[in-house]
């Protein structure tokens, strides 16, 4: 039965996933090419010195891409379900409601992790050709909160869309927006090292919020 849920999600979101992979590869490709052109123009030593001395990693264009991806995914996944309250079709299936909605959320989170993993592999794989390992690691630590922000953003927007009452939706946004903003407080390289456990905790907590909205939907809140 879960395979059928995954099948439905694939049919609904395959265009989104195709587009998202293209956009991510294009942006990472652009970042790597611009890094290469800088290395060629300024020389390797000069560029490394700038990156370490001035704390510039040349990946700032990547900052909001994971968040935009997460938000767009939530919109593409849940808006069709809330249109004409189509989610009732899923809730009427002879399978536990929390399990079916959890599977829908789970396959999107796994999809996002794979997509973000692809970004990490491309950045680390090609970055290692031109940069020392320490700088690649520093780049990874700088990006990580943005990617966590993408996942948290997905959870928050899913929570917001699935909430059946507009009044509570406004409250959701007031709570959710600062939580997402926590991941984007600074673009200074590797500033978030101390905060990672908290951000991961926040991610796990926000993952339960869409299930709470479904619980409220089942109570008949309108």
């Amino acid at each position: 039965m879960l395979r059928a849920i995954f099948y439905k999600e694939w049919l609904k979101l395959r265009l989104f996933w195709g587009l998202a992979v293209v956009v991510h590869i294009a942006l990472i490709g652009y970042l790597l090419l611009s890094l290469r052109s800088t290395l060629l123009a300024s020389g390797v030593v000069e560029t490394w010195a700038t990156m370490i001395g001035r704390d510039i990693l040349m990946i700032n264009q990547l900052t909001y891409l994971p968040l935009i991806t997460g938000v767009c995914l939530a919109l593409c996944q849940w808006l069709p379900e809330m249109q004409a309250k189509r989610i009732r079709l899923t809730l009427h299936l002879p399978i536990d409601n929390q399990l079916s909605i959890g599977a829908m959320l789970g396959c999107s989170i796994i999809g996002l992790c794979l997509l973000f993993g692809l970004d990490a592999v491309l950045l680390a794989g090609f970055g290692q050709v031109w940069l020392p390992r320490e700088l690649v690691w520093r780049t990874f630590l700088t990006c990580l909160p943005w990617y966590l922000g993408g996942l948290i953003g997905y959870n928050i927007v899913s929570w917001w869309i699935l909430e059946p009452q507009w009044k509570i939706r406004c409250v959701d946004i007031l709570i959710g927006a600062p939580l997402v903003a926590l991941c984007f407080l600074t673009t200074q390289p590797a500033c978030y090292i101390q905060m990672f456990p908290w951000l991961i905790g926040l991610l796990l907590c926000t993952a339960c919020l869409p299930l709470y909205s479904i619980y409220r939907f089942k109570l008949g809140k309108q």
Partner: protein, 276 residues
């Protein structure tokens, strides 16, 4: 040495005997209990003294009715009298403020999820997944329902002359209604709940829908609870009828009692509820 009959050895069961008989009783009793419970269940829907509010607005108070096994019951009422609310409470999407609602003997609030396979639900406007094709939607639903009958679905699709690769969003409202009906027939549920099945259908598709549904229900002794705002359709389809007004039931009886040579069901409906 003479053996004496020892009362305690032969009459008091040993531990393994107790365990054995307990197991036998459990193995036979549990399914037997379920079978008896189901066969003795005469009302597949029991709506018992239900009161519901939206915020502070009372929709209805102390509403009760039941749908016996094998009957087709139509709920008639003006807009805003609580027909869709009733469907939503029956489907478990709304919890009433007071009273209980039982489907197939289970309280809708605590009904085991697998029992939903025995209930077919048609949402208002024949809502389905518009991004799926005829074949994909059948493939999606099939694993959920143990009695899934693929042939019943494709038979109806052949009648409509639609292709397997046609996407639902590119189909007419009438065709989509038949897809929803085909899925219900493939599911082969014991109880069908249909919310305003005639919404958006032209007379031809309404007739096709009603005839197919009627044949399907009579063949399989299905129990149906439906709402519609087109009274002529109900005349041809339902056995019993509930006429509802704001907050109360005006009449509940077999349709045959409401139709006379002088009066149609629509005339009776207007007499009871008023013109406007």
């Amino acid at each position: 040495m003479q053996k004496y009959y020892n009362f305690w050895t032969y009459t008091i069961p040993k531990n393994w005997e107790i365990a054995f008989f307990t197991c036998i009783c459990a193995i036979f009793f549990v399914p037997l209990h379920s079978i008896l419970k189901y066969t003795m269940l005469t009302n597949l829907i029991e709506y018992d003294h239900v009161t519901h509010y939206y915020g502070k607005r009372l929709i209805y108070q102390d509403l009760s009715f039941s749908v016996p096994r094998g009957r087709i019951l139509g709920l008639l009422g003006k807009n805003g009298t609580g027909k869709t609310t009733t469907i939503n409470i029956l489907s478990g999407f709304i919890q009433p403020h007071a009273g209980t609602c039982r489907l197939l003997g289970y309280d809708t609030r605590t009904m085991p999820s697998k029992e939903r396979a025995r209930i077919g639900l048609l949402l208002e406007g024949h809502v389905q997944y518009p991004f799926m094709t005829i074949a994909q939607i059948e493939r999606f639903y099939a694993p959920f329902f143990p009695k899934w009958n693929k042939e019943a679905y494709y038979e109806l699709m052949r009648l409509l002359k639609v292709k397997d690769y046609q996407i639902l969003s590119q189909m007419s409202n009438g065709q989509r209604s038949q897809v929803a009906l085909g899925l219900l027939m493939a599911q082969d549920p014991e109880l069908l709940i249909l919310d305003d099945f005639s919404l958006g259908l032209d007379p031809g598709y309404r007739r096709l829908f009603v005839e197919y549904l009627r044949d399907f229900c009579k063949r399989g002794e299905k129990t149906v609870f439906l709402t519609s705002h087109i009274i002529q359709d109900l005349e041809r389809l339902v056995d019993d009828c509930i006429i509802m007004d704001y907050g109360k039931i005006l009449k509940q009886c077999p349709v045959s009692e409401l139709i006379t040579p002088e009066k149609t069901l629509e005339d009776t409906f207007i007499d009871l509820t008023g013109k406007y």
